[in-house]
C-alpha cells in the first residue's frame, strides 16, 4: 500500500435507527440503534470485510450504504458524490454504479422469471441495450459467472444453491458496477460450494476491477477474501485494520474473543487453542449499555468502561480501535491512580479460567 489510493466510498458517522412504536397511539417510544455512528472508507479495487455476530448491524450497514434505507444521520460519498441525502429519482441514476449480492439465493430470485429474464432485468431498467444485443450481454454474463449458456431459459428452481448464487452475481454485474455489497453471499451454501463462489468473486474482481464490501460472520472466509477488515459489535465498528494486522494482532478484547472462538479443522491445533469464552449474550440494540457497548461481556472490563464510551481512533497506522485499553491518556490515569491499576488484571484472570 505505498501510493495513496483513491477512496471509492467514504462513510462518515452513519446512523440507522429503526423506530419502536408503542402504546395505544403507536407513538414512537424508542429506537433500535442498528447502526449507530460508523465511519469507514473503501478504496478502489479493494475488499473491505465486515464481520460480527448476528444482530450487530453489519447487514443493515451494507444496505444503508446503498441507500436501501433512508438513513437517520450521516454522510455517504460514493466516487465523490454525496448520496446520503439524495432523493429516490436521483439515486436511481446512481444505481448502475452500486449493486448488491444477497444472502439467500432462494429468496432473491423471482421464481416466475427465467434466468435470462432475471439477468436482463437491470439492463431493461437502466440500459440502452435492446433485443439481440441485450441477449448477447446476458449470455456473456452467464459465461463470466460460469453458468451454462443453454440454461438461459430455465427457471431458478432448476438450479442448485451455488448456481443460484451465480445467477444473483451475474445480475449484479449486468450494469458494470464499480462497487458491490456482498451480504453473506456464501452463508446459505455448502462448504464445498462456498469455495467455488468465493473464487468466482475474486476472479470477477480482478477481471472487472470491482470494489467489494463483503459482509460475513465467517472469519476464516473473510481472512481469505478481504484486504481490510472491520469488526462490528452492537451497531458500531470497534476495530478496523489491514487483514494480516487484524488477524495477527487484534487489539480489541471482542476481536480477540471472536477469533479465539472459531473452531479450527485440525485436532492438533484445536487442542492448543486458548479459548476466551464470553459470558452472556449481546445486549439489545434498543437499549445499549452505558459506557462501552462491550462492557457487559468484556473479560478486561475496567471501571471507566461502564461510564465512558471509548473513542474510535487510529492507534497504529491504518489500525483503528474503540477501546480504553488502547487509549494512552486513560491507561496512564489508571496506573497513576495506583490501586485501580490492578482491577483489570484481576477481572481478566477470573474470566479466563476455562481457557
Amino acid at each position: 500500500m505505498s501510493e495513496p489510493r483513491k477512496k471509492l466510498l467514504e462513510v462518515r458517522d452513519l446512523k440507522m435507527h429503526f423506530p419502536i412504536a408503542g402504546g395505544l397511539l403507536r407513538r414512537q417510544v424508542g429506537a433500535v440503534k442498528a447502526v449507530d455512528g460508523v465511519s469507514f472508507d473503501i478504496y478502489e479495487g479493494e475488499t473491505l470485510g465486515i464481520v460480527g455476530e448476528s444482530g450487530c448491524g453489519k447487514s443493515t450497514c451494507g444496505r444503508a450504504v446503498l441507500r436501501l434505507y433512508d438513513i437517520t444521520e450521516g454522510s455517504i460519498k460514493i466516487d465523490g458524490t454525496e448520496i446520503g441525502t439524495m432523493g429516490q429519482s436521483a439515486l436511481r441514476r446512481m444505481r448502475p454504479k452500486m449493486q448488491m449480492v444477497f444472502q439467500d439465493p432462494q429468496a432473491c430470485l423471482n421464481p416466475r422469471m427465467t434466468v435470462a429474464g432475471i439477468i436482463a432485468e437491470p439492463l431493461e431498467e437502466h440500459g440502452t441495450l435492446k433485443g439481440k444485443a441485450r441477449l448477447e450481454r446476458v449470455l456473456e454474463l452467464m459465461d463470466a459467472v460460469g453458468l451454462n449458456r443453454n440454461f438461459a431459459n430455465r427457471y431458478p428452481h432448476a438450479f442448485s444453491g451455488g448456481q443460484r448464487q451465480r445467477i444473483g452475481i451475474a445480475r449484479a454485474l449486468a450494469l458494470n458496477p464499480r462497487f458491490i455489497v456482498c451480504d453473506e453471499p456464501i452463508a446459505a451454501l455448502d462448504v464445498s460450494i462456498q469455495a467455488q463462489v468465493v473464487n468466482l468473486l475474486e476472479k470477477l474482481q480482478d477481471e472487472f476491477g470491482l470494489t467489494y464490501m463483503f459482509i460475513s460472520h465467517d472469519l476464516s472466509m473473510v481472512k481469505h477474501i478481504a484486504d481490510r477488515v472491520a469488526v462490528m459489535y452492537l451497531g458500531r465498528i470497534i476495530e478496523l485494520a489491514e487483514r494480516d494486522e487484524l488477524y495477527e494482532r487484534p487489539l480489541h478484547p471482542y476481536t480477540e474473543a471472536l477469533m479465539s472462538a472459531v473452531p479450527e479443522p485440525d485436532p492438533s491445533i484445536e487442542a492448543k487453542v486458548e479459548r476466551i469464552i464470553l459470558r452472556g449474550d449481546v445486549p439489545s440494540p434498543a437499549n445499549p449499555p452505558k459506557g462501552c457497548n462491550f462492557s457487559t461481556r468484556c473479560p478486561k472490563v475496567m471501571d471507566i468502561c461502564r461510564k465512558l464510551d471509548p473513542v474510535y481512533r487510529e492507534v497504529r497506522p491504518g489500525h483503528y480501535v474503540a477501546c480504553h485499553l488502547h487509549d494512552a491518556g486513560i491507561m496512564n490515569n489508571q496506573t497513576n491512580a495506583g490501586s485501580t491499576g490492578a482491577v483489570p488484571r484481576h477481572e481478566h484472570k477470573q474470566q479466563g479460567e476455562d481457557a
Partner: protein, 332 residues
Amino acid sequence: MPDGALPVLDVKNLKTVFRTRAGEIHAVNSVSFELRPGELLGVVGESGSGKSVTMMSLIGLLPSPPAEVRDGHVMLGNQDLLKIGEEKLRAVRGRDVGFVFQDPMTSLNPVFTVGFQIMEPLRRHMGMDKAKARKRAVELLELVGIPDAERRLKDFPHQFSGGMRQRVMIAIALACDPKVLIADEPTTALDVTIQAQIIELVKDLREKLGMAIIWITHDLGVIAGIADRVMVMYGGQVAEHGPVREVFANPAHPYTRALLKTVPKLREPRADKLRVIEGQPPMLGKHPSACPFRARCSHAFDRCARENPPRREIGAGHDVACWWDHRTGEPV
C-alpha cells in the same frame, strides 16, 4: 472393538428411501456404525449427504409415508428399534435417546412455558410428581448454565435468546439421563461466541454425566475440537470413518481430503486461491451401483463407475469406501 466395551448403539445396514411423485430418493444406503459408552461420534457431511436422515431413521422420527426404512438393524442394548413398534419407541425417545435439533427457535413449543416442556418427559418417563419434576427441572437448568433457573421456569421460549434456547433444548434432552444423545447441528444457527459456549458446556456435561453423543455437523472445525471418532458421509453412504486425529492427519477418501483443503483456516497463512471441489453433490435417484463421488473425484477411474466401493479397513478403527489407495496413489 479393540477396547472390548459393548456398544450402546449398534447400527447395521440401515437403508432409508423416500417415495416422492418424481420417484424414489435413496437418502441412506447401507449405513453401519456403532457408538460406545461415553464417546462422542462426529458425523460430517454436506446437506443432502444423509446425515440427519440416518439419525432420524434410528428412532423413527421420519414421517412415513414418504419415508420408508427398508432394511437394517438398530440395536439399542438388546432391542431392535426398527422392530419394537410405535408404542415402545415412544418410551425410548426422550428416556434412552435424547435429541437436540438444529434450530432452537422452532423446536420448542411457543405456547408452553419452558418449565412445562422440561417437566413433560420427567413426568411421563420417570413417573415423577409435579413437585419432584419441578425440582429436577431447576437442577437441569442450572446444569446447563441458565442463571436464575427457578424464576425462568415460568418463562416462555420467546423470552430466551438463541443460545439460551439451545441450552433449554439440551436440558430437555438430558432430563431422563439418556444413554445416547443425538445432537443434529446444535450450534449451526448460533453465533461463534455462543457456539463456543455450547461446545464448552457439552464437554463439561460429558465429563459429569458420561453419556454417548452423536454430533451431526457440516463444520469440520467443531468436530476437530470435540469428537473422539468421526464419520464422513457423502451421497447417503459412509465415505470414511475413524479416530478423529487419524482422519484429520491421514485422510484417505478423496472427498475427505478435498473437504479438508477447501476450508480456509484462521490460524494458518492465507492461501492465494481456495481449493475447490468442482461440481455438485449427486442426485440419489436409485440404489447406488457406483461410487457417488466419482463425478467430482480427481482420482476416479473406470472401476469407480462400475462398482460401488465397500468400506475397507486401512488402520486401527479407520476405514474408507474407495477404490483408490491414498498411500500408493494407485487403484487397490
